[in-house]
């Protein structure tokens, strides 16, 4: 009911605008990062989300929670980003994201150097990350978005429905499908995992 007061306060109260950005920055950044998997790109997109929101503030109406509106803007920007950039093949994308997060020293391992216990743990974590990313990449874009919103951003079904523009029943159905597929690959698939 009082959502339009948000825009009034943003227009007239700079401190309120700063607080609003600070409160929402991390979640929007994480959402962008989980899609693009590169820190710099995610930061740029996040900045663009807030600037676009401010630029269109006269058009903002009561869409429910403000953060849902920011997710919608972020989703549109991510889609634009991929339209401009050719998406890397799945394997290369996984390697790319690992590289940006810090690659384990495979050379030392190849030389037969056992390495420390910490490095082994790091390798395992990296492999686990690749596994999860590969499983997510196996989903369709809509399903991946639903999983990110539900499992990583912690949104409720009705909020996801507001963000994606789909009915809640459709969201539940697609999410269930995605969950089943991910479970098969991640929770039931550990025995089938190989390093090659």
């Amino acid at each position: 009911m009082f959502e339009n007061r948000v825009t009034d306060r943003i227009i007239y109260d700079r401190e309120y605008m700063d607080r609003l950005i600070r409160e929402n920055y991390e979640e929007i950044y994480k959402y962008c990062w989980r899609h693009v998997r590169q820190r710099e790109t995610a930061e740029d997109l996040t900045q663009e989300v807030f600037l676009r929101f401010l630029g269109n503030i006269d058009r903002y109406r009561e869409y429910g929670r403000l953060r849902n509106y920011l997710y919608v803007t972020a989703g549109n920007l991510i889609r634009d980003y991929y339209r401009k950039k050719k998406e890397l093949p799945m394997k290369d994308a996984a390697r790319e994201s690992v590289r940006s997060q810090g690659e384990p020293d495979y050379e030392k391992k190849e030389k037969g150097w056992a390495g420390s216990h910490e490095e082994s743990a790091e390798i395992e974590q990296t492999l686990e990350r690749i596994r999860i990313q590969t499983a997510l990449d196996g989903l369709s874009a809509e399903e991946r978005d639903l999983v990110i919103l539900r499992y990583y951003q912690g949104l409720k079904i009705r909020d996801i429905a507001a963000v994606t523009g789909a009915p809640a029943s459709t969201v539940r159905y697609r999410l269930k499908k995605a969950e089943d597929r991910l479970k098969r690959e991640l929770c039931g698939g550990e025995a089938n995992w190989t390093e090659n």
């Binding site: 943003i10 227009i11 991390e26 996040t46 990313q133 999983v147 929770c187």
Partner: protein
Amino acid sequence: MDRELKKVLDKWQAEPYEDRSLEQTLQKASEFCIHHEEMRMDATRFFINQMRFIRPHIWILKIGTAILLALVLPVGGQWANRWLWTLVSLASPLLCLVNVNELWECCCPGMLEFQLTAKHSLRQVVLVRMILFGLIDAVVFIVSAVTMSASGNGAAWQLLLYSLVPYLGMCLGCMAILIRCREDDAMAWCAGWGVMLALFFVMPQSVGVDVYGLDAVSVWLVLGAAALAGTVWQTMEFVKRSGGNVDEINTGTAV
């Protein structure tokens, strides 16, 4: 949410962002000038734009009243003169009552918060609407006076006197009510005042007092002067307090 799946998915942690990127975003946001002043209209457009906000039925009622006067006045000679003037005296407060609702909307409790969205304050909106209504009603009176004079049923000054005095009386009462009334039924109170005013003119007529005779002109002038003075005073008070009552916190109407 599948907790087992959540446990597995949580192993993929997001790379943290750099603080400088947040600071850069805040910096760009603060530089980002929201050009709201460019979206606002200038004074002339604002004045004309107020006409758009006045609802169509108000215009219809005003035009209807003017047409009624235009139709009745030329043929009014068929009636006894005093009842013709009574009709004129009753019609002019009606013209005022039509305006009141549009002014009341600017004075509802809580309207002050909406001022935050506007370059032009509610006080300015009220002033503009009053000027608009005043101009239109003045045109109606002048046209009626000319019609009356042309039809030969009376002098223009008579029409102006016998319509303006009740009109000013109605304005005085409505302004006083709008200043003091906190409930949504201010219109009902104004209508009640209008009825009382009408009785004030009709009752002496019905008992045979010649309210519209030449002997009573001085009484009309005195009443008119008093009504004018009271209207000016109450209108100034009303304009000062318009915008949802700046003291609404003190009067307990703030939500």
